[in-house]
Assembly symmetry: D2
Homo-oligomer: 359 residues x 4
């Protein structure tokens, strides 16, 4: 029962979709860090809805306000709290449907866990809107990591059977990651990207939604981060990735496909280049024994289709314990993957920052 994460750097989130505000407190940041606030705005903007036809046209005011921990343009070392104010929402709309469980959402489990007291408006504390504070925290973390030349980037790897080129097939340089970041629909193969877009628009017309897979990478990580067993890099990263609503799978390096491999293929053989230890392949995704090897960290996260769809669905009314039907109103994302990109990068940055400072 914890909205707090981290060992050395602790992140505490709070807020509900239709409450006053959502936010995050970051405790344990090093003092003296000058933050590029515009860059943070840019990251927030990547997640914000309404950018193009592939996401919901709903507008959300996602500008943040730093309440503490930042003074004279530098972090103070004291907890940094930032809030994002919620605008006026049509909260009344939720009243009539509050007992009708939306399939794929947390309505039922939230109802059970919180004995019916959870804020049901727009998903309440379960809302994807809560990823905005994560993006804020990730943007802060990214800036601190960038000072150590550590860069994180990602692309849309798979939507509805259409696959982009995997990171493993290209040279992952900071420059490539930066370019992907400036692309609102980041893919390595633009042709595949166009196919994905077409599929999303088609799905949107059907009043349906579709899932997808994001692939992310972090470069220039020092070897030696993480620990065997309970503090493995995979454990920490997966912990945070599975905190993102809608994520149903996480894999590192070759991931599930490694089950088809022989050891002689999967073992990444070593060589030395300019005095640095490297591996010819990177099936382990930059992690061995739970610890970074210095090779690029590579992983993928699978997102389920947006649960809110315009199609009629079978469900129940939890107050009456009766079967009923539901057609979710409103303008929803036909595919959440595009907007989830900065969230995946954000939690990656958070996890790496904590690993770096607790190492």
């Amino acid at each position: 029962m914890s909205g707090v994460w981290g060992q050395r750097i602790k992140f505490s989130i709070f807020g509900e979709s239709h409450g006053k505000a959502i936010g995050i407190t970051i405790d344990g940041l090093p003092p003296g860090i000058n933050l590029d606030l515009e860059e943070i705005e840019f990251e927030m903007g990547r997640r914000a809805p309404g950018k193009n036809e592939f996401s919901t046209p709903r507008k959300e005011k996602d500008s943040f306000e730093i309440l503490s921990g930042y003074f004279n343009d530098h972090t103070t070392g004291a907890p940094l709290c930032a809030v994002i104010w919620n605008g006026d929402q049509h909260s009344k709309d939720y009243e009539q449907l509050k007992n009708v469980l939306r399939p794929g959402h947390a309505d039922y489990t939230g109802y059970v866990k919180y004995a019916g007291f959870n804020d049901y408006r727009g998903g309440g504390h379960f809302s994807g809107r809560l990823t905005a504070p994560l993006v804020f925290a990730g943007a802060v973390a990214k800036q601190i990591l960038a000072k150590r030349e550590i860069f994180i980037g990602s692309h849309i790897y798979h939507i509805g059977g259409i696959y982009d080129v995997p990171f493993d097939k290209v040279r992952i340089e900071p420059q490539l990651l930066r370019e992907l970041r400036r692309n609102s629909f980041p893919v390595l193969d633009e042709k595949k990207g166009q196919e994905m877009k077409n599929l999303i628009l088609e799905t949107k017309k059907e009043l349906d939604s579709i899932g997808g897979v994001i692939e992310a990478a972090a470069v220039n990580l020092p070897a030696g981060l993480g620990s065997p067993f309970f503090d493995s890099v995979e454990s920490n990263l997966a912990h945070l990735l599975f905190s993102i609503p809608a994520v149903k799978g996480v894999e590192f390096g070759t991931g599930f496909e490694i089950a088809k491999m022989k050891g002689s293929q999967a073992n990444d053989e070593y060589y030395i280049e300019n005095g640095k230890v490297k591996t010819f392949t990177n099936h382990n995704g930059g992690i061995l024994g739970g610890i970074t090897s210095g090779m690029p960290l590579i992983f993928r996260a699978a997102f389920k289709p947006t649960a809110s769809i315009g199609k009629i669905q079978k469900t129940i009314d939890i107050s009456k314990k009766e079967s009923t039907q539901l057609q979710v109103k409103g303008r929803h994302d036909p595919c959440i993957v595009q907007r989830a990109i900065p969230v995946v990068e954000a939690v990656t940055a958070m996890a790496i920052l904590d690993l770096l400072y607790s190492n």
Copy 2:
């Protein structure tokens, strides 16, 4: 940097493959639990090597000794520490190869992290042997869960392109899980199991190894366990699953395949049966919003091929920073999946127990 895990129930592991002993301390267990020690031995036996031709013929003495926390045949509520003594090992054998990095192992990352002071004999603290204490802890957890009718079971889902029937296609009853548990090579489709066995033996002849995927399920979990965001059931389970050496992927419910689905397919629609809320499908694997729904918890974990293989591999000598070749001696598991089954179940039981008591 932590061999300690858990919020309400804390598990602390220790030990090295060729040290005096390996073990685990479990803190926070409820008092008054009578443990079936033979049942624990049985679980330990499931992981132990040398059972059949699909695992290493190496024998390991895996009997445990409880040092504390157990009195008059019941848990006392004080920390329960159990050790497993290491037998006499040919530790000298490791001396000559200690600087030659074994591909796929943690030799390099351990060397960097611990500045060369890690116990390199047989993988030291990184050894798969450290999963024996996890199986002990899991066996204890399973017995406590069983008193609440919560059962965990698993099968080999995939090895080298050969797939078993997924849990989603059968009725997952406690009885089925119990039967799988008594099977040393548990599959739902014995014909597929035989194909897998053949492939393993073939791979063994080639002095190679092969990876695989384990699918596990937990039934009769109450709805309402876990929390949104940082304490989601997925986050906790994935955290522990990725603590198991060789795991490179974890997915829940439909997992990565959900990326191919439309929302209208992936959303599990609700109905009521005998006053209980259920879903027609279970693409979410029994978890919504990070919280258990009461439907079976289903997930899969991908294991890479055993890193130790008899084939010649390219590598480097870390002391000389020179290229060299390596042929790993000894008798190793051609496929670790069979022995990993009880480990996957163990960490699942550990995670569920902690979630249950911290809820």
Copy 3:
């Protein structure tokens, strides 16, 4: 480096004296708790300055705003975040003295720890003003405890050599604790209270300050809270009490005076009353082996004199590394004890709530 505390219920504070806001997030509260917001305001008022001539005449706007976790007049179970906005302060005044270390304050240690980047205005994050969020959290905790008939109260036990009657000499009933709470200068012996007040006014005239000791009690605690060793009730309570700025000592039951006792005196002998186990004396302050015994929990906390005084003091300028003199301007509390009363009660309630829910 952590502004986060608690095992099952996590409290995260943030804010600086002259920043935008101070606040606290409480994670893990049970859902469905209706809060008496006026009662919280009352508690905040007890800590607020400017009430009478014994505290600083400075006015602070201490009204709180709940940002999340509270919906339809009940806690939701999601993180409850409350902020207290800072008013317009004369922050410029601090600029000229920012390098002159105020004796008794954290100016020097904050400067070293945060490499000079800490917010130096009014003590920044070190300010006693940060205890306002603690009082908020404590007021919430108190209301939840009160539903279980657990009550916390305290009185001023000692100021400058003048001692009130100790709790051990009276019958500690909920009614007594309630009365003390309504008293802005709570003592058991009003005559001693008058002497204390006279001493404070005298000290104020001298432009000096004075320390004191608060004694607190909690009644109706169930036996069995806490654990031996690292989670003893004393450990948890002392941890939080020493988090309050200015606390330099904490003792339970007979405390330091127990060093003068024989075992035959100090051992609290048992008897049975109406089927309940009780002790004739309570030298252990309601705790044995780190666990509550069901007898009243009694402890005392010593506060040093307010560090800000109008007298001239020797100090240094940290930028010039030169000796200098300092006369702290402004209107400060001649004795902080009166205003610290609700803070001591607050952290007590926080600690007990966490112990209760993690038991």
Copy 4:
């Protein structure tokens, strides 16, 4: 409910007085530390009973066995587990009195918390014997701190109204602390020490026991350790000190006496000596705002009299819920303070080590 403590370095204790073994696992130690095992034995010996007439003549085998984390005479960085085997004890003796609550002990609270399943023999997990693993851990911590020139020492400050010279009145140099450490009854004023010894022997003849106060100091701590609020140095140290059975009070610097002081006395004024910032006095005990100032860290811990006394005491039989009498048999410490000295130093070293590595 936690036998685990620490943020960056985690200490997990286990064991019961009459079980197989007691022990501790230390996770997060830096690799490459060569330990002086004889020095650890020496520290263990300081705590061991039977040294002189002021402690119990009972002999305990306190030699430790390191099970893991130590290889080729250096820490490996993996968890270091050490056990201390329990000898053959007259455990049967406890059977007949197991329901008769010993006043001052944890018999009653342990019975309630663990529902009667706790190991009642010799106090079980509550036994003072469990401080032996703490001394082991502290001895390891001390050696790591000594490499940074940080030294910890202590003396008996007060027993039964007889007071030694306080640290504040002498120059606390590493040499003094080392000398105290070699003294089995360490005091600054040997005459006062003799008076204390006489009082203990007198108390022993009366079949009674007596309490006392230990004063400890740590020198050469860098300024800047610890944090404001929940991670203050006082909070961390007090947390561990109150984990030691029998401690009922903890105070820093001038402690409770500071309540008698004026701010103009209590504020430690600054000066510069050889470029280093110092204070003329040290009423704050080396801590300001929860952070070390670089001045000696000074604190005191009050111990209650040994609960086991030979005198007849009133009590109850918990199974019959009847009044009865009890005369505790066996040879007990007339004063525990002498043997508690290394325990106080041990937890101090543990706390400082964790603060140092998590800073």
